[in-house]
């Protein structure tokens, strides 16, 4: 599935390198380090899946989620939130805001892969 594009929205550079090494095997990976570039990059790239961190510099991930939902070309892209925040509060909030799944850092690599596989390419027809 080499033509699947994944947009990673994450400000930690080490993690981003890790994502790249880990995911480039099967997917094409793009990066954005804040909300603004996340939206513009998403519009430009039209990814098949977005991995979104909540703790971004400036505006946080929820703003990005909102923007994705607002934009007709992006609203159908599945978003997996990967965050260090407490899932007790944020899992449902993220899902309510339109994300498909919430994964807490540090994640189990196998679980991440399977979640990606589950959603990548799945189009939400709401």
């Amino acid at each position: 599935m080499n033509d699947r594009k994944i947009l990673i929205v994450e400000d930690d550079l080490d993690l981003n390198l890790g994502y790249e090494v880990f995911l480039k095997v099967h997917h094409t990976v793009f990066f954005a380090v804040d909300v603004q570039s996340a939206v513009s990059e998403a519009i430009r790239v039209q990814p098949d899946l977005i991995i979104l961190d909540l703790g971004l510099p400036g505006e946080d991930g929820y703003v990005a989620l909102e923007r994705f939902q607002e934009n007709p070309s992006l609203s159908t892209v599945p978003v997996i939130v990967v965050s260090g925040r407490d899932p007790a509060t944020h899992k449902n909030r993220a899902l309510k805001a339109g994300a498909k799944a919430f994964i807490q850092k540090p994640w189990n690599s196998a679980a991440l892969l399977s979640t990606i596989d589950q959603y990548i390419g799945s189009v939400d027809c709401t």
């Binding site: 890790g18 407490d86 007790a88 449902n92 309510k96 807490q104 994640w107 709401t126």
Partner: protein, 812 residues
């Protein structure tokens, strides 16, 4: 010649004799004219003095002037001479008295005594009292002194001196009377001379000081009584001399040595010339009084100081005329100037209007509560500031048990209240901060941990090149440690939630065996790797438990993990579950191992936060929070957790959780033995996602959201959420008991449907609602509350079971 010589000497002699004659003549002349009254003649036996004046003259003046009556008598009593005073005493002219017998001026009774006296007087002086007979017939008591005068021309002459006893007696009587009065007085009355020698010492002084009159008289009073003044003795004396009186307290000593405080008043007596003669002192023993006064003063002072320092105002409210009496601190509290008077209405005008009605209520409570009352209210000071006042008071009743008066103390507690509020706020802030801190910390720790985990995976997966055996082994070690760190951070967060009360527990009717199986499956791998057998033993008649399945699994995982840590290879871990006895309201779960056991000293402390027992073989312990978290989770759901262990044999952790019971859930709705409505319905809401294959997370998410949505529609005293059950496929079924009539139930169902239409909440789901009306227990029946609940619960459980069975027919 001889003749001439002889005539010359004769002339000389003549002249000499003439001179002498002239001298003699002059002397005679002088004697006759009274210029000479005494002649001193030198005789053979020495000088002799001859008085020449009439023996009467100067002496006559003396005799006439003296205060006593005097007379001279013959031995048979005839008066030869009588002085003016005697005549006065008798009340007759002296000439008349002279020549008569002395008896004539004596009372008849005295005559015999008189005769005796005159006879005796010839030998020695006699003195006796007698009664003179006056001209007007009255008698005058006198003292008569008889003495013999020198023999005059052969006659015996007796001199009589009469002293008017009348005055003396009167004076004596008066004195005695006064002395008697002075003795009656309980005060010590002391008279002393200017040298402080005691002249008079009354009975009171004897009693007070313990010295008798005999012992005291003549002594120096200051020495005897060891008098100490509050100023110098000189100053006291000076004032006494200057002003004639002095008054103050003094300290003296009794005979037995005890000290006493006297209130002393002294008066100075002066003679006719104004010279100080005597000091009269009256002393009062005020020792006890002064002590009491001192105590009282000290107490009052302490109280005043205390109330002033503590800024406690003391007030009195006379309800009969609504008058207020305030001390200075009260005025201070209310911001009024010193010496203001305040009326009740003025005060009430300053009280916050909302708090005024409390006064009435407070008084009423005070009357019931033994007269003690308290009140907190707000006042508006003249300067516009709002202050909180706390008052504690006591009411007093009149004879008819009506409240007449109140006395109390008030304090401005504004600062304290502000401080309390600030403290509460800072506690909230601190908790909030701690919460934020921990979330922030745990959040921040996770990113580097994620990076570490990520790259360790990358290396292990060979994505950065193949690893040799050792490299792989070491990477696996790294990963193991990363996972431990992860577990520790999770535990820490969990404990914080426990402390903050933010722990989320979502109890439900669950199958214990399902959760146990789930937990075992998660740990089986590591157990097998360690060579420890892991099995379960669930009683087949286990009822559903009322608990959060995720939390139950969490507890089991912690306990199994602990067991694994302390059980060596070849050992066994078993999980048992059954209905608890004798209290069938709980399920009992046990996690037993055949491990090394816990030493007795650690057993009691093992549930403490951070408490760790060092395992035999060195293995990482984690943060030691696991059991603390388990205890929190169990206790919060109404259960208990404990441990039994034998060293080298094994350990069993046991805990209880409530059994799912419809009765327990609906019992609170039965109020005063009555259900809230005549009819009750079982409402079932079936929810399923529109998405074909929702992820586990998605399923969990909308299941949670559906439940929240339904619960929002319930009315607490009419409806009760019963349980959530998994239906066919992805379906979730929610059961609610609704006590309402037909209209009420349809309102409820409509509200629920509305929830599922609301975006974005349950956008991806559909729902159908079913309703079953149940039989109501008639209120007239004499069923006990417990039975009523049991019956209703049984009906509901039946209905739920039948609904579940008839599910397929109800599919929309």
């Amino acid at each position: 010649m001889a003749k001439a010589q002889r005539s010359r000497s004769a002339v000389r002699e003549l002249r000499h004799r003439s001179a002498r004659l002239a001298e003699a003549e002059d002397t005679l002349k002088a004697i006759r004219s009274g210029h000479v009254d005494t002649i001193v003649v030198d005789g053979p036996s020495g000088s002799r003095i001859f008085a020449l004046q009439s023996p009467d003259d100067p002496y006559r003046i003396l005799i006439e002037r003296m205060n006593e009556g005097a007379a001279t008598l013959t031995s048979d009593g005839t008066i030869l001479f009588c002085n003016r005073r005697l005549a006065e005493m008798v009340g007759e002219a002296a000439e008349r008295i002279v020549g008569s017998c002395f008896k004539s001026i004596l009372d008849e009774k005295e005559w015999q005594g008189f005769t005796v006296s005159t006879r005796q007087a010839l030998k020695n002086d006699v003195r006796n009292s007698a009664q003179l007979l006056r001209k007007d017939g009255t008698t005058l008591p006198v003292q008569l002194s008889f003495s013999r005068l020198a023999n005059q021309r052969g006659r015996q002459v007796i001199c009589v001196i009469a002293t008017d006893l009348g005055e003396q007696k009167r004076a004596e009587l008066k004195l005695r009377e006064q002395a008697a009065l002075l003795d009656l007085a309980p005060d010590a009355i002391v008279v002393r001379d200017m040298q402080s020698r005691i002249l008079f010492w009354n009975r009171g002084a004897e009693t007070i000081y313990g010295w008798s009159g005999e012992e005291a008289l003549g002594k120096d009073s200051a020495e005897l009584l060891k008098t100490e003044f509050f100023e110098s003795a000189e100053a006291v004396r000076a004032q006494l001399l200057r002003q004639g009186h002095w008054e103050d307290d003094a300290i003296q000593c009794k005979r037995d040595g005890t000290r006493l405080v006297v209130a002393s008043r002294s008066v100075l007596q002066r003679d006719a010339e104004g010279a100080p003669v005597r000091i009269l002192t009256i002393n009062n023993d005020v020792t006890d009084q002064r002590q009491a006064e001192a105590r009282h003063a000290s107490l009052t002072e302490r109280l005043a100081l205390a109330t002033e320092v503590a800024k406690v105002g003391v007030w009195e409210w006379d309800m009969t005329n609504n008058a207020l009496t305030w001390d200075s601190t009260m005025l201070e509290i209310y911001g009024l100037p010193m010496n203001s008077t305040v009326t009740y209405d003025q005060w009430a005008g300053r009280v916050h209007p909302d708090d005024l009605q409390q006064i009435e209520a407070s008084l009423r409570k005070a009357i019931e509560n033994n007269g003690e009352g308290n009140l907190e209210f707000r006042i508006l000071r003249k300067d516009g500031s709002l202050r909180n006042i706390s008052a504690v008071y006591r009411v007093f009743f009149d004879g008819r048990r009506k409240v007449r008066r109140a006395i109390g103390v008030s304090m401005d507690v504004t600062e304290r209240k502000d401080a309390e509020r600030a403290l509460e706020q800072s506690r909230i802030d601190e908790l909030h901060f701690k919460d934020e801190l921990l979330s922030h910390v745990s959040h921040e720790l996770r990113t580097p941990l994620a990076a570490m985990k990520q790259f360790s995976t990358i290396l292990q997966d060979g994505l950065a090149g193949a690893l040799n055996e050792k490299q792989l082994k070491y990477q696996q070690l790294v990963m193991k440690n990363i996972e431990q760190l992860q577990a520790m951070i999770n535990d820490l967060l969990e404990v914080t939630r426990l402390e903050n009360g933010k722990l989320v527990i979502k109890p439900d009717s669950i199958s214990v065996s399902e959760v146990v199986t789930d937990a075992i499956n998660m740990v089986l791998g590591s157990a097998q790797a360690k060579g420890v057998a892991l099995s379960s033993d669930i009683s087949p008649s286990m009822p559903a438990a009322y608990t959060d399945p995720i939390r139950l699994r969490q507890i089991l995982l912690i306990l199994i993990d602990n067991a694994l840590r302390f059980t060596p290879s070849g050992g066994e871990i078993k999980i048992r579950a059954r209905l608890s006895e004798p209290d069938a309201k709980f399920v009992l779960l046990e996690v037993s191992d055949t491990g090394c056991g816990i030493p007795p000293k650690d057993v009691n402390r093992i549930f403490e936060r951070l408490y760790q027992v060092k395992p035999a073989r060195s293995s990482r312990m984690g943060l030691g929070l696991g059991l603390f978290i388990c205890e929190g989770l169990v206790v919060r759901q109404g259960g208990q957790i404990w441990v039994e262990s034998k060293v080298n044999e094994g350990t069993t952790f046991s805990f209880t959780l409530p059994v799912f019971s419809v009765s327990t859930l609906i019992a609170p709705l039965l109020v005063n033995d009555k259900w809230p409505a005549k009819t009750v319905s079982l409402v079932e809401v079936q929810v399923w996602p529109r998405e074909a294959r929702p992820s586990h997370q998605a399923r969990e998410y909308w299941s949670d959201e559906a439940r929240i949505g339904i619960q929002k529609c319930l009315t607490s005293h009419l409806d009760m959420f019963l349980l959530q059950a998994r239906g066919q496929g992805e379906k979730q079924r929610f059961f609610v008991a609704a006590f309402a009539d037909e209209g009420g139930v349809s309102t409820l169902t409509e509200r629920i449907r509305e929830q599922f239409r609301l975006p974005p909440l349950l956008k991806g789901t559909d729902c159908s609602i079913f309703q079953t009306t149940l039989k109501q227990v008639p209120p007239e029946s004499s069923v006990s509350a417990k039975d009523a609940v049991a019956n209703m619960a049984a009906q509901m459980e039946m209905a739920i079971k039948s609904q579940t069975l008839s599910e397929t027919t109800n599919h929309e």
